[in-house]
């Protein structure tokens, strides 16, 4: 047993080294080609596409030169703040609703049809109504983001409970567990990974929605930056803004993955 493990490990190591060596070269070629291609097309048609270094300069400028009265990092902060407020609300409402829907067929029968009705409507479609109701300020944006973020939270919390392997319940009953212990020792921990997966989707959903909401009307935030870039015909500002948005999205997802590993260390088993 132990020997075959070593055999596998060494084999994997060799294969990996070989594979990585060629892969990284390909990656490098790919990136270099991409940047060259980008630069040449930008040079040929500079009005529509900024050259890579222009984007970089724009970003560096953004650090201390304010755009519409605020420096770049403040704009980013505004977007993040909206996301976090809305995210917290979505979690606070969504998880209990989802859990109740998963746990009780009766509650599910009441809520599910309404939920199904709202689900296919893109949260962004609500923006006009939200502006009508709450004006163009923070409330309407947070409202939209909550709408976007709450769907995966509810869905995953519900499924998290529904999809628990029934034999886990059998196991706890055979060990003498009563119904309160069943919920505490099986229902809650077993649904945690699914809930967490929902939170991950939900966070990226929230980030997408905040950008969209800020595109519709805002005086600050990353969505505002790129729409501003469009209206002042500064493509470097647009692309720079997109880059910041992308990097933030990526960092948020990394953060969630790390958090998940802390909270559900056993989850690796559930993936296959």
């Amino acid at each position: 047993m132990a020997i075959s493990k070593i055999e596998n490990k060494t084999a994997v190591k060799i294969a990996l080294l070989e594979f990585l060596r060629s892969k990284y070269i390909l990656y490098a070629i790919s990136l270099i080609l991409f940047i060259i291609f980008w630069d040449i097309s930008a040079k040929m048609n500079g009005r529509f596409l900024p050259r890579p270094w222009a984007v970089l300069m724009e970003l560096i400028n953004g650090i201390n030169e304010p755009i519409a009265g605020k420096i770049l990092i403040v704009h980013l902060w505004y977007s993040l703040k909206r996301v976090f407020i809305a995210y917290a609300i979505a979690i606070a409402i969504g998880i209990p609703i989802g859990l109740l829907m998963g746990y009780s067929k009766l509650i599910n029968a009441w809520i599910k049809p309404i939920f199904d009705l709202f689900k296919p409507m893109p949260p962004i479609a609500w923006i006009s109504l939200a502006i009508l109701w709450f004006g163009i300020g923070e409330t309407s944006k947070v409202f939209i983001i909550v709408l976007g973020a709450i769907v995966p939270v509810i869905l995953n919390s519900m499924n998290g409970i529904r999809l628990i392997d029934p034999s886990l319940y059998h196991a706890i009953r055979m060990l003498g567990g009563n119904s309160r212990q069943e919920i505490l020792e099986v229902t809650l921990p077993a649904s945690l990974p699914a809930i967490f997966a929902g939170l991950q989707i939900s966070l990226s959903m929230a980030w997408t929605t905040v950008v969209a909401a800020e595109l519709m009307g805002a005086r600050e935030g990353m969505g505002f930056i790129i729409i501003r870039g469009m209206s002042v015909s500064n493509p470097a500002m647009i692309v720079g803004g997109m880059l910041v948005i992308a990097v933030t999205a990526w960092l948020l997802s990394v953060l969630m993955t790390l958090l998940e590993r802390r909270i559900c260390p056993w989850k690796t088993e559930l993936e296959h």
Partner: protein, 261 residues
Amino acid sequence: MGKKSTNTLVLRIIPYVSILSCLIIWQLIVVLNIVPNTLLASPLQVIKLFIYKLNHTQPDGGLILVHAFVSLKEALIGYVLALLIGIPLGLAMGWFKPIDGLIRPLFEILRPIPPVAWIPLTIFWFGIGLSGKVFIIFLAGLVPVVINSYTGVRMTNPVYIRMARTYGATKWRIFIDVCVPSALPMVFGGLQVALSVSWMTLVAAELIAADSGLGFFITMGQRLLMPDMIILGILMIGLTGVVIGIIVDKVEKRLVAGMWR
């Protein structure tokens, strides 16, 4: 046993009761003026507007079904493009290492950018016409399509590949015979995700800049301070989304049933 069957009957009725009571409460809120009519339209008003908009172009310059058709057309063109390019690309990336190596970095850059963030650049490049919308939808749909096709190939049971190899099948042959059919269910799983992302992005694009389409219809409703228009627009978007979702699902089930059991 008797108790159980009444229970299931109750569970079957409740959803209808639930929706009906929601509609009634909504209607009452407006009729009793709990929320003023300038902020919220009642369901009956929305239905009235829908019937009116079936053959009247005022006040936004188009019939409601024409708006829906415009949105649908933009969405479908972009979506189909994403499938045509994304599926082969994702499948090939999953199996052929050089293609993976060359495309992956670009894809990893593309992936975290929320599709809506492309809207300003796209408008800047293409204006607010058809080509711009199609481009955005294409980008939005591409990412999930490629990821699922790629993962599908990657998840191919290695025994199948080893089996084909021992019979002397070429790399290409294994790809066609084993990897592609094995990836299909996963590929189709990506279609639904891609569809909902595409649809949402289209709506956003139309809200920002358009002269027709359902998103434009909503914007007009906001400008004219007509909540019934906004709500009708939202409902139409939801409904259309559901309808294409069902169509994709049906097509998908057909195709999968044809190749997989």
